[in-house]
């Protein structure tokens, strides 16, 4: 069982390594979206630090959704998704493996870019630390719920936009707790409450979404 999960994750990592272009576009998308806001809101550091949490988190949502629409699409197009569904292992592990692989490929780098952008938004040190922590705990939610959306919209025309329409409302709790953690630190209130709620939401999605995504895959592949 576990070997199959690790095989799926290693497979996706290898594929992503072979096609660095996709990976880079998603990271640059994140950076560019975030950099647009100061141009729109104005350079005043006090204002920027207040909106930093929200801006970075919304950009993380959009970057995740951008890369998720291709989570199953490439495998579906060349038939390898069918082969993986025909392996003796339950499809839940496939859905979980793909989601975790997506988190490692597209979620973790957001963590590393966030501090640079945090400085750009005049965030103090501790706020940047909490931002990274909230992204660490929050990005799995993006990949897990997103994998459900990707499975549901497999092979549909307008898949990317449809995926966003379906899944963005489900991201709201993660956005509120994640961005709230940064604001709480700025306000000196301390972000433990936000982070623990975010972690609870992450665990819940971890338990629910692989099953739903696997069922969605079986339905979409038929």
């Amino acid at each position: 069982m576990l070997r199959f999960l690790i095989a799926v994750i290693r497979r996706d990592l290898k594929l992503a390594a072979r096609r660095k272009g996709d990976w880079l576009t998603s990271q640059f998308f994140f950076v560019m979206v975030v950099s647009m806001f100061p141009l729109g809101i104005g350079p005043d550091p006090a204002m920027l630090s207040k909106v930093a949490g929200g801006v970075l988190w919304v950009a993380a949502l959009l970057a995740a959704l951008l890369s998720l629409s291709r989570l199953f699409a490439d495998d579906h197009r060349d038939g390898s998704l069918e082969q993986m569904l025909l392996s003796p292992n339950p499809p839940v592990l496939l859905a979980l493996g793909k989601a975790l692989a997506h988190w490692l490929i597209y979620g973790i780098p957001l963590l590393l870019i966030a501090p640079v952008l945090g400085v750009q938004f005049a965030l103090p040190g501790d706020a940047i630390g909490v931002l990274m922590l909230s992204l660490l705990v929050g990005t799995p939610v993006l990949s897990l719920l997103g994998s459900v959306g990707a499975a549901l919209t497999l092979g549909l025309r307008g898949g990317g936009v449809l995926l966003t329409l379906l899944i963005l409302p489900l991201y709201v709790p993660a956005l509120i707790f994640g961005a709230g953690a940064v604001d709480a630190t700025l306000a000196g209130v301390g972000a433990e409450a936000n982070l623990s709620l975010l972690a609870a939401f992450m665990v819940m999605t971890l338990l629910v979404s692989p099953w739903v995504a696997a069922a969605a895959l079986r339905v979409s592949i038929e």
Binding site: A7, L15, D78, L86, E222
Partner: protein, 229 residues
Amino acid sequence: MSDTAAVLSVHDLACARGERTLFTGMNFSLGQGQLLLVQGGNGRGKTSLLRLLTGLAHPLAGEIRWRGRALADGRELFHREMAYLGHLNGIKDELTPVENLRLAGDLEGMPMDQATAERALTDIGLARCLDLPCRVLSFGQRRRVALAGLVASGSLLWILDEPLTGLDVHGVAMVEGLLRDHVGAGGMVVMTTHQPLALDGLAVVPLLVGPALTRPEPGNQEEPACCAS
């Protein structure tokens, strides 16, 4: 063919695509060392039948049993002993043929080392392009990579949907050889094809899906099935 040896058995199977019922009340069974040749016009449900047999699709009615147990509850055992080759090859273009084979082995739970993968590929005539990404290979060569994976998987039941498409004369001869070896060694095959196959001496079980295809005389071109009510 006594029923007891039947490893794969289908009981009044019905299949629909969208709202159109393709076929109903289909019964057959297949034992080891047999090849089921599925024939019928376009759009009659040949591919749908094969997808039902793999368990990817669900039938409208009826049941498919593997070693006496329904697919739904014996899924893991069935998928361990079955391999499917559809219209798509199921290989990744970025990876080399060897990587594809070893990856398929990992996912099936039977890891394959470098040497076995290379031998499987050279046996099937891909010795020269072992370390090229599949992207650069021709469709026929990629088909051979998929076939090499099929053979290397060591599955008892092969489900092949038009395996000969895109293969040159040598390819077709090679596939016929593979089928003969597999079925001869007690393996089972369910396949569809429009090209004539030289499978003399093998236990071929024909199965017709939909009305028989009359030899189209110049006058009456049989109306394509998709528009029939």
